[in-house]
């Protein structure tokens, strides 16, 4: 395909695919005033043209199926195809969301089992599966914290604390729930600064949002002390489960003292990322928040399963989607959990941690600077290019772009914001030692290039369908839709 050639460029007026529906045969029985005057501008291509165009486009992506994809905080692991197959069984795909319970017992049984499984995984008292991604799980969690304070008439609490290293969804969520955000500093060892925490806690504190292992790639060692301090101040603790992969089968958020946790099923439990989504962000809650869980949830009476809605949970924060969240993702998670079993889950956390520590040590030995050299890696770790940036003028972004030329997707760059020129690297449990070694080799070669031929690195990538893109032009001269007739 020609660079930038869109589906609209290859159409011809009147051309059609054979897979279309048959014609209706009569004129619509609708008043002329509500009818559309001009047909929408949609592609006019043959079926083969469409198939070829999108197949060719797909080849312009990096993906787990093609490349090592060590994006920190994203858990880009291989997700067994069996889980996808299970969720795609016809009985599941063709089920209408509002089908009567009598015709939904199979689906409801699956949801019930997943609720139970995730209760064990999180160490929580109840689970609601409806949130449609991590961020919506966060929303549900903080909205429940709010509902709990409100129900007690404790309405002076206006602040949610988040560490400076937190993912952007955390502060954004707190604001959506009507709270002010108060940032708490992270210490030089990657753990929370306890003095800063204690100074921030008080009668305004509604709660705190934490990721553990944190987005600094280390386990927050004083977590129980933190939990006690927050509870003593009258606040609740929210657990961002994006990093659960590191401790799956080993440590549970409920045991750490959290009151509510969300899980990113699209990270830990078998849904590939789909070029942006979908995901699912079920929430588990401790006893205190059970009266507030989002609906619907599934209950079992003997061998029958049924929906539980707001009429039975009057304190619920209510529904957050039109139907049952991303139901299909929930089925994938159940299938995956079933294949892993308890031993398999434990292995996930262990191998993710092993791979991360191995890669961290190898990169450190090769001379890359670790952000937290005294610490164990969790399932991910941070290296910083601040020296390379200063002495060679080659930044983390340059390293990232050059890695693409070597056939590796770049790690997460410039996150967390508090480490300058950083890579957050998460190899996941599904990669082999050979792959990790090859990545180290590529990193070493790129640094050698940065010393001898920095321009080569600064202008990378050189072998991809496009070279570095002008994102300033993209923002200043917005072109968000194809202009018919101008190309």
């Amino acid at each position: 395909m020609n660079p930038g050639e869109t589906i609209f460029d290859i159409g011809k007026p009147g051309r059609r695919a054979s897979a279309q529906a048959p014609a209706a045969g009569d004129a619509p029985d609708l008043p002329a005033s509500c009818l559309r005057a001009n047909a929408p501008r949609l592609p006019e291509v043959s079926e083969l043209q469409a198939v070829r165009h999108y197949t060719n486009l797909s080849a312009r992506n990096f993906s787990i199926d093609n490349q090592f994809y060590p994006l920190g905080s994203c858990t880009m692991k291989y997700n067994p195809r069996g889980a996808h197959r299970a969720a795609s069984l016809p009985g599941f795909l063709n089920r209408h969301p509002l089908a009567p319970e009598s015709a939904s017992q199979g689906f409801l049984a699956c949801l019930y089992d997943l609720q139970e499984t995730l209760k064990h995984v999180t160490g929580m008292a109840a689970v609601s599966l409806t949130p449609m991604a991590g961020a919506q799980g966060e929303f549900a969690g903080v909205a429940m914290i709010r509902a709990w304070h409100d129900a007690r008439g404790d309405d002076g609490r206006e602040e949610i604390l988040v560490p400076t290293a937190a993912h952007g969804t955390n502060p954004a969520t707190a604001v959506m729930c009507g709270y002010r955000v108060r940032e708490v500093a992270v210490g030089a060892d990657g753990d929370m600064d306890m003095a800063a925490l204690k100074a921030a806690l008080g009668e305004k504190t509604a709660g705190i949002m934490l990721t553990n292992p944190s987005t600094c790639g280390v386990f927050e060692r004083r977590i129980r002390e933190i939990a006690d301090a927050v509870h003593a101040a009258g606040g609740l603790l929210y657990y961002d489960g994006a990093n659960l992969n590191a401790i799956l089968g080993n440590v549970r958020p409920g045991d750490m003292g959290f009151d509510v946790a969300h899980l990113n099923l699209h990270k830990t439990f078998a849904t590939p990322h789909g070029g942006g989504g979908p995901g699912a962000g079920p929430v588990g809650v401790g006893e205190r928040l059970v009266p507030h869980i989002p609906t619907p949830v599934v209950a079992r009476d003997g061998d029958r399963y049924r929906w539980v809605d707001n009429d039975q949970i009057p304190g619920s924060i209510g529904r957050l989607s039109a139907f049952m969240g991303n139901a299909g993702i929930l089925l994938r998670a159940l299938a995956y959990a079933r294949m892993l079993g308890r031993e398999g889950m434990r292995r996930v956390g262990e191998y993710a941690t092993l791979n991360a520590n191995y890669l961290m040590v190898r990169l450190a030995d090769a001379g890359f600077e670790l952000a937290y050299p005294e610490r164990r890696a969790s399932h991910e770790f941070i290296i910083t290019f601040r020296n390379e940036a200063k002495t060679l003028g080659v930044t983390a972004m340059d390293f990232a772009k050059r890695l693409l030329d070597y056939g590796f997707h770049a790690p997460t760059t410039y996150f967390p914001l508090l480490v300058a020129e950083c890579f957050l690297i998460e190899p996941t449990e599904t990669e082999t030692k050979e792959e990790l070694d090859a990545f180290v080799d590529a990193m070493v070669r790129i640094r050698a290039e940065a010393e001898t031929d920095p321009e080569r690195v600064k202008t990378a990538p050189h072998t991809l369908p496009v070279s570095r893109l002008d994102d300033v032009k993209a923002a200043r001269e917005l072109d968000l839709t194809y202009s018919f007739g101008e190309h």
Partner: protein, 445 residues
């Protein structure tokens, strides 16, 4: 590997975690099983839910999906890629989203679209938050009073619930205007003057009850009074019905809805995707990702995420939304669907759904004791009154293998004898006859 690390065991890698926190085992989680056994177990459950023809819509529709759609969308290169933050390694996904933005704005006749939000219900929530940000001139911004959003006519009750729950903590209040004959009560809406003037008005077209709302009157009233118009639309219907960008003299300000009808299986309601479109002047208020076309260092065209400063990873607490992961793969499927069916194909689907539903209503109202509840034109859903509590009728029809519409009593007590029914292009004459016979048997023995 442990030798390289210098650790005696894998357990040692967890030595920073205090021992008391470690769970020695998960009681209650079973041993794992192999893939074959897992699929067999899941298949046994899936089989229990296999049902006959589906006549329920209410936001989720049983359309034909051309075979090529998921063959291509499920390619690993689309399915196992991350969000396209590294643009050079994600041109496939990025260009596809740009094409999607073009198609969905074409369908809705709006200027710009984001790359998706979760579903139709949460899309409406985001639309409301957006309208509140965008309507800076509204007096409630000065007085600090509640920001009222009018719900004109019959909007999907689940959408209204989700939206209420998503926006409640920001001092936003949804105010239903009530209906007459299943449509907006225009006098009640236009009576919202002075202090009660809403920030925005929500209109669903066709509405939840399948009927056609007077969208031009609503849009013109709104624009004359500084009220923003939020349209909730079904994408299939837009092949036939006037798109939100052309409502009234100025068009709607925000258009949203659920993309499920565009090549996505019902799958218990998710994953599908929410679409969200607006005017160019409000583009910076849009939540979620946007793809722009630009050039690379060699002046070749290429695509990249743009206006990211609106989003949580940059703007954090001041972001337009907390959304991060969206519904990318479903957008991929919808884009391929729209490319394959084109405008002609989509209008065939729409016309045929419309024709099938009229046939269905004719058949069902031929059953003794059944009548059409609301007069007036409808697109592909309609309310029928079965003369007795409809939830029991729906269950009885389900026993006969038919997913026979949504009982409405739960949402509207005065419609407890009513079913909301739908027939898509997939419903054959034989399916319709079977539903008619089943209803006859249930009602009249």
């Amino acid at each position: 590997m442990l030798t390289s690390i210098g650790a005696p065991s894998i357990d040692a890698l967890f030595d920073e975690i205090e021992p008391a926190l470690k769970t020695s085992h998960f009681d209650g989680i079973d041993e794992g099983v192999d893939e074959m056994t897992m699929i067999q177990e899941m298949a046994e459950r899936a089989r229990r839910d296999e049902a006959g023809p589906c006549f329920t819509g209410a936001g989720c529709y049983d359309h034909h999906i051309p075979a090529a759609v998921w063959d291509i969308a499920a390619r690993g290169e689309f399915m196992t890629a991350y969000t396209p933050y590294q643009a050079e390694a994600s041109q496939g996904t990025l260009q596809l989203i740009y094409e999607y933005q073009t198609m969905i704005t074409g369908l809705t006749a709006m200027d710009v679209s984001n790359a998706s939000v979760y579903d139709g219900g949460s899309a409406l929530g985001e639309a409301v938050l957006m309208a509140v940000r965008a309507n800076r001139a509204h007096p409630s911004n000065k007085t600090g009073g509640p920001r009222r959003i009018a719900v004109a006519g019959a909007c999907h009750p689940h959408y209204v619930d989700a939206t209420t729950n998503i926006t409640r903590n920001q001092g936003i209040e949804l105010v239903p205007t009530g209906t007459t004959d299943g449509r907006v009560d225009l006098d009640a809406l236009t009576g919202m003057t002075g202090d009660r003037m809403p920030v925005a008005v929500i209109v669903q077209q066709p509405n939840f009850l399948g009927l056609i709302e007077p969208v031009d009157e609503i849009a013109d009233w709104a624009s004359a009074n500084g009220v923003l118009v939020i349209a909730v639309v079904n994408p299939t219907s837009l092949a036939l019905l006037r798109p939100p960008g052309e409502w009234g003299a100025n068009g709607a300000d925000i258009a949203c809805g659920d993309g499920q009808p565009l090549g996505i299986p019902m799958a218990s309601g998710g994953p599908s995707f929410g679409f969200l479109c607006t005017r160019s002047s409000l583009v910076r208020q849009l939540p979620g990702r946007l793809v722009g076309r630009t050039v690379d260092r060699h002046d070749q065209p290429g695509f990249t995420l743009t206006l990211q400063a609106r989003e949580q990873h940059i703007r954090r607490g001041k972001a337009r939304s907390n959304i991060c992961t969206n519904q990318g793969l479903l957008v991929t499927a919808a884009t391929i669907y729209l490319a394959i069916v084109g405008a002609t194909g989509l209008s065939r689907v729409a016309s045929r759904c419309h024709e099938r539903t009229r046939k269905l209503v004719g058949t069902l109202t031929g059953v003794n004791g059944v009548r059409s509840h609301f007069a007036g034109p409808y697109f592909h859903e309609h309310v029928i009154d079965v003369g007795q509590p409809a939830d029991r009728v729906a269950d009885a029809v389900a026993e006969l293998g038919i997913v026979g519409g949504l009982p409405l009593g739960r949402y509207f007590p005065d419609l407890r004898n009513c079913l909301l029914v739908c027939a898509t292009e997939k419903r054959t004459d034989a399916d319709i006859a079977r539903f008619g016979d089943a209803l006859q048997q249930v009602l009249n023995g």
